[in-house]
């Protein structure tokens, strides 16, 4: 007697439906948990890019003085020369990264770490620093007379 093949259509259809349901449910669960997972493990934060900073009224800066300010996560130095002109630089010494300071006696910038010296224009003039300080652009906001510092290329300096 020949064997009769009767395909079980109803079973395979149910299985197919179950699979589809399971897959869709899993996708829905992933969709639900993914944002939570991202919330718990946020991407490593890029250093906030700061391209300008307001240092307040120009009148607060005496002649022949310098001050360290924060430019993003980097130190900046603003100098008001005895000529009244403002100049600003990245305050990181180009030798071994110490923070420089203004030396009013010689009207220049000094690095205490290895006695490195820069002139008021940020040029390295003696001691170990191999390069000039990176300059920032200084703008005086019209009207408010406030000092705005910006990196020269628009990026964080």
């Amino acid at each position: 007697m020949p064997i009769e093949h009767t395909p079980n259509y109803s079973v395979s259809r149910r299985r197919f439906l179950d699979l589809l349901l399971g897959g869709t449910g899993l996708a829905a669960l992933i969709g639900l948990f993914y944002p939570i997972f991202r919330y718990l493990t946020p991407p490593e934060q890029e250093e906030a890019v700061v391209s300008s900073v307001n240092l307040g009224p120009a009148k607060d800066f005496p002649l022949n003085s310098g001050k360290i300010f924060r430019f993003g996560n980097k130190p900046g130095i603003i100098i008001r020369g005895s000529d009244g002109k403002f100049r600003a630089y990245n305050a990181t010494c180009t030798h071994l990264d110490c923070i420089v300071q203004y030396d009013a006696k010689v009207e220049g910038v000094w690095c205490a770490c290895h006695n490195g010296r820069y002139d008021i224009n940020g040029r390295n003039i003696s001691g170990p620093p191999p390069r000039p300080l990176t300059p920032y652009a200084v703008k005086i906001q019209p009207g408010a007379e406030e000092i705005l510092i910006a990196s020269q290329d628009g990026a964080q300096g």
Partner: protein, 443 residues
């Protein structure tokens, strides 16, 4: 009339231009007969001199050796033309000084060039011995070469900072030569040792401002700094440390012991019984240098119970604890940054104020004044503590996020399980109801 004047002026310009051109062309084709004849026998010398400082200043062979380079035979070397040939070592300092000590002459080439080299040379150890008739000592060309002399900023110069150590080592690492003077020969090997911060900066980091032999010993007036002058020499770069040291009680003590001030503590493995043994290997300063156990240098002179010993103990313990706290704070902030938490103020403190406070603290050790050091320590410690608190606060926020997430996950999981159970229950109830119904009908 105007056009006649204009023609005259043009004529003058024309003549001047032609004459200038003729001069330039005649100079270009002028033959230096020294080179023409010596080309074969002194090929190397001629090639060395090709672009050197003298050639560029148009000082050619005859400029130093005399003679008449316009003549093309041996007559060119007739003493009547001032021919001196190759100078003997005993003549060299004065030979070079003919030009280099003549301010008026040197002004033609570079008005800023110093002209006191010979004067300084006589004050150097080399010059002193030379005057006594020792002509084995270094003279001008020993360091600058005789031919192929370049300004010291030119990398081809044997006096370029990166070449100075090997230039000096030509003699100072020669045991046979140095034996005559009773001078050790290990300076060069000590200097190029990778643990020497200065040599490392020069050769590995390419920092040509790092001190080489002549920065501490002088160049034309080279002489070893005296025991009591080392601090002065180091102070050119390490100004604040040296200033504190020189005002401290250690200054006189070190001088009396002949321990070379800064160099004694900062050399590799200082040993009071051989205080000069490794002074050309200046190691990177580390906190462990101050303390009461080896490799701390204080134990070389101080003994248990004395004031120096006590200060060393306190400085060492303080430095260790601060370093530990700093490392922990930094790790905490790094972790917080990695997880996207806002800790930029803390980072700014770490890189700015704390970095500076730690440097100042390290500098303050050189006062050997416990009270002054303690003040710096308290300040740095308070800054580190504040950053630590900021980091902890930020990470606590993160851990509460985790806790919240865990609780919510458990609740949702529970909810799902309950839902499944509920569905099963409903399904079973439905099946049971259906079975009951069918049973009733059959009966």
């Amino acid at each position: 009339m105007f056009w006649i004047r204009e023609a005259q002026v043009n004529n003058i310009y024309f003549k001047t231009t032609i004459i200038s051109l003729l001069i330039i062309v005649s100079q270009a084709i002028a033959v230096d007969n020294c080179i023409e004849c010596h080309n074969q026998i002194h090929e190397q010398i001629i090639s060395d001199c090709k672009e050197d400082a003298h050639s560029r200043a148009r000082v050619f062979c005859a400029g130093c050796h005399g003679g008449n380079s316009a003549l093309a035979d041996e007559e060119a070397m007739n003493p009547k033309y001032g021919f001196v040939g190759a100078p003997k070592p005993k003549d060299i300092p004065r030979f070079c000084a003919r030009c280099h000590s003549d301010a008026g002459y040197m002004r033609n080439f570079n008005p800023a060039l110093p002209v006191d080299q010979l004067e300084k040379y006589w004050t150097s150890r080399h010059g002193e011995l030379f005057k006594k008739g020792d002509y084995k000592v270094a003279v001008c060309n020993s360091c600058h070469k005789a031919h192929g002399v370049f300004p010291s900023g030119d990398t081809r110069s044997s006096a370029h900072p990166k070449k100075v150590p090997s230039t000096c080592a030509k003699c100072h690492s020669d045991p046979a030569l140095m034996q005559t003077y009773g001078i050790p020969t290990h300076q060069y090997t000590q200097y190029i040792d990778s643990s020497n911060v200065h040599g490392y900066a020069l050769f590995v980091k390419n920092d040509i401002t790092a001190p080489v032999c002549n920065d501490c010993h002088g160049n034309h007036g080279a002489a070893p700094p005296g025991v009591s002058q080392v601090g002065q020499v180091c102070s050119h770069c390490h100004m604040l440390n040296a200033k504190l040291f020189r005002a401290s009680p250690h200054k006189d003590g070190f001088d009396a012991l002949g321990t070379m001030e800064c160099a004694f503590c900062h050399q590799a493995s200082p040993d009071v019984n051989a205080p000069l043994a490794r002074i050309h290997t200046i190691v990177k300063p580390m906190a462990k240098l101050a303390g009461t156990v080896q490799p701390a240098v204080c134990v070389q002179c101080h003994s248990q119970g004395d004031a120096g010993w006590q200060m060393a103990g306190k400085v060492s313990a303080g430095s260790d604890s601060l370093a530990g706290k700093f490392a922990a704070a930094e790790a905490l902030i790094k972790r917080a940054e990695k997880r996207g938490l806002e800790v930029s103020d803390a980072r700014w403190q770490l890189n700015g104020d704390i970095h500076r406070a730690m440097l100042e603290l390290r500098t303050a050790i050189h006062s050997f004044d416990l009270e002054a050091w303690q003040q710096h320590f308290d300040y740095a410690d308070s800054l580190v503590n504040a950053v630590n608190a900021q980091g902890l606060h930020a990470t606590q926020e993160l851990s509460s996020r985790y806790k919240y997430f865990l609780i919510m996950t458990l609740i949702i999981a529970l909810l799902i399980v309950l839902l499944i159970l509920k569905i099963h229950q409903v399904e079973n109830d439905r099946k049971a109801a259906l079975t009951n119904k069918q049973g009733g009908i059959r009966r």
